[in-house]
């Protein structure tokens, strides 16, 4: 069993050691698997472990590397995949009781790409049922119950990529695939104190991944550092004719650069002042310090205003209406009654009553909002805001004794302003959240970078620079 110091290394460092043959992919996979077996249940983070597949892939990687055939930065690197991504022959439950026993006979494109890169799949990460596609009320809305936050197991991880967040935070794997329709990578990333990225819409193929909303779903990496997110994105990005919304050849691919920029000089950063509203003082101070660090590093910081418009409503309606179609059979069959969450059990019925005119109205407004948001990036390379308006929230026993749920209490937060994930998700913008401090209860805060659509390199570059001048991403939870 390798030490925590090894298991918490970033993907880049693990890859360098594997390439130099000072670290065995077999030993690495065995160590993460052992940790996942022994510590994993504490966090309720995996739905399924795939030890046979993992060891087969790890042995193959080791053999190839020793024979001089090194495939690239993920060769021999273990990972977990959110359980909405199809892996041939293994359960893909979508986190939902109606699909608890379902298996696909093919791999999702993202899995095929990772197989070709020589990556090692450790298992399928727990998630909120249907990734919240029919609505949910709390963290208990999952086939496997609520994932628990490694920083405090009495707290939730946020969702819907709940298991992915816990897995990376607890070093059960060095990185995981998450999915984000409206915040499902950014929020768990923030609450779990890791680095996670929602790529531009269309950059990563969703073929073989569960659909919530075709025009908003994205897959992306959750990892130790922004640099790792870039490395992983360079492997999983690319055009795929099987995904109707895949960006075209020449645009979809992502080439990750080598070393980070040496300073932030020339970087124009907008501080979003009209999102989230009032947050707790210590979070506000952490965000202030983040800006100061980047300014000291040479960045030009200015206030930025997200444009006016019904971004949140348009995002929510788009999801509701597209999900009503995506899960139509589940609703019509009545199997939605098997979902864990009382809201998810019935929300599909109400959403069936939206009209085609409603949908088109939302999409006509969406196009204008998208254009307005795009103009903001004439002034800024990236805009920044807190990753979430609070740290992780506590879990308490749910009424009726069905297990923990998110506590109906928490910091007093003013939600009079908008959440940046509604704005950026509606517009398909890339975002990357990284740790930036801790609450009074030693729970992580995060700050997110957002850029113009398809300019994923800007959020990665800015976040890498931030991590070059701060140490927050090196902090680990005390998980015994």
């Amino acid at each position: 069993m390798l030490s925590d110091d090894i298991l918490y290394l970033p993907v880049r460092e693990l890859g360098l050691r594997i390439r130099k043959k000072t670290l065995s992919p077999v030993v690495l996979a065995e160590s993460y698997l052992e940790r996942s077996r022994t510590l994993g249940p504490k966090f309720n983070a995996f739905v399924t472990l795939t030890p046979e597949l993992a060891m087969e892939q790890a042995r193959a990687a080791e053999k190839e590397i020793h024979a001089g055939h090194y495939r690239g930065p993920l060769h021999g690197i273990p990972y977990a995949a959110k359980d909405l991504v199809a892996v041939k022959g293994y359960p893909t439950t979508w986190g939902a009781p109606p699909f608890a026993d379902r298996k696909f006979d093919y791999n999702a494109t993202v899995i095929e790409k990772l197989n070709a890169a020589g990556a090692v799949l450790l298992g399928k990460a727990a998630m909120i049922e249907l990734a919240g596609g029919l609505g949910y009320s709390n963290g208990n809305a999952s086939l496997t119950g609520p994932a628990r936050n490694p920083w405090n197991t009495d707290c939730w991880t946020c969702g819907s990529s709940s298991g992915s967040g816990a897995i990376v935070s607890a070093a059960l794997a060095p990185w995981a695939i998450g999915s984000d329709t409206r915040g499902s990578i950014i929020c768990p990333t923030t609450w779990c104190g890791i680095s996670g990225m929602r790529p531009s819409f269309g950059r990563v193929s969703r073929y073989g991944a569960m659909t919530i909303a075709w025009s908003m779903d994205k897959l992306g990496p959750m990892a130790r550092t922004a640099d790792d997110c870039g490395l992983i994105l360079s492997v999983i990005a690319g055009h795929d004719a099987k995904d109707h919304d895949s960006l075209p050849h020449g645009v979809a691919e992502y080439a990750h650069s080598g070393p980070p920029q040496r300073t932030s000089k020339g970087l124009r950063i907008g501080r979003l002042t009209n999102v989230w509203g009032r947050v707790e003082a210590k979070l506000e101070a952490a965000i202030d310090e983040s800006f100061k660090a980047l300014e000291k590093d040479g960045a030009k910081i200015s206030d930025a205003q997200a444009p006016e418009g019904p971004f949140e409503d348009a995002a929510e309606l788009t999801i509701l209406i597209e999900a009503a179609s995506a899960f139509q059979e589940l609703v019509k069959s009545g199997d939605c009654a098997k979902l864990r969450d009382p809201l998810g059990q019935v929300n599909g019925y109400s959403s069936q009553e939206f009209s085609a005119t409603d949908y088109l109205q939302v999409q006509r407004v969406r196009k204008i909002l998208q254009e307005r948001m795009d103009k903001l990036f004439d002034q800024f390379d990236v805009v920044m805001a807190a990753g979430s308006n609070s740290p992780a929230q506590p879990l308490v026993p749910a009424p009726g004794g069905r297990g923990p749920r998110a506590a109906p209490s928490g910091p007093v937060v003013d939600n009079s302003n908008r959440a940046p994930d509604g704005i950026s998700s509606l517009c398909g913008l890339p975002a990357l959240s990284v740790p930036c401090g801790f609450s009074e209860s030693n729970l992580p805060y995060g700050v997110q970078f957002i850029a113009r659509a398809t300019e994923d390199h800007r959020v990665i570059s800015a976040a890498r620079r931030f991590q070059a001048i701060t140490e927050w991403h090196r902090k680990r939870p005390a998980i015994g």
Binding site: L134, S137, I212, I319, V346, A406
Partner: protein
């Protein structure tokens, strides 16, 4: 996503009152003005349709949840409809050839 109503959130419902007050209770935002009569009539008609189609599957509690969701959806639609658009403003849809 924040819980509470539609999808996401958690934190939101979590901090229930906190993040998404509009969705924190089945009745919607506490103290909100009632829907305009024409909008309420539309919601009532749609709710009747849901009950006609699926009512045999729904308990009273679930029916109340459906109705609350429909009111919430309507408020969102009203805000989107207030946004000015022209006849030529096309939707963000993409058929690629």
């Amino acid at each position: 996503m924040p819980p509470g109503f539609s999808r996401r959130s958690l934190a939101k419902q979590i901090a229930a009152a906190a993040l998404f007050p509009a969705v924190a209770s089945p009745q919607g935002r506490g103290g909100q003005a009632p829907l305009p009569p024409a909008e309420q009539a539309d919601v009532d008609a749609q709710f009747a349709t849901v009950i006609r189609k699926w009512g045999d599957r729904l308990s009273e509690e679930q029916r109340a949840r459906v109705r609350a969701a429909m009111v919430r959806h309507r408020r969102m639609l009203m805000r989107v409809r207030e946004f000015p658009i022209e006849n030529s403003d096309s939707p963000a849809l993409g058929l690629r050839l």
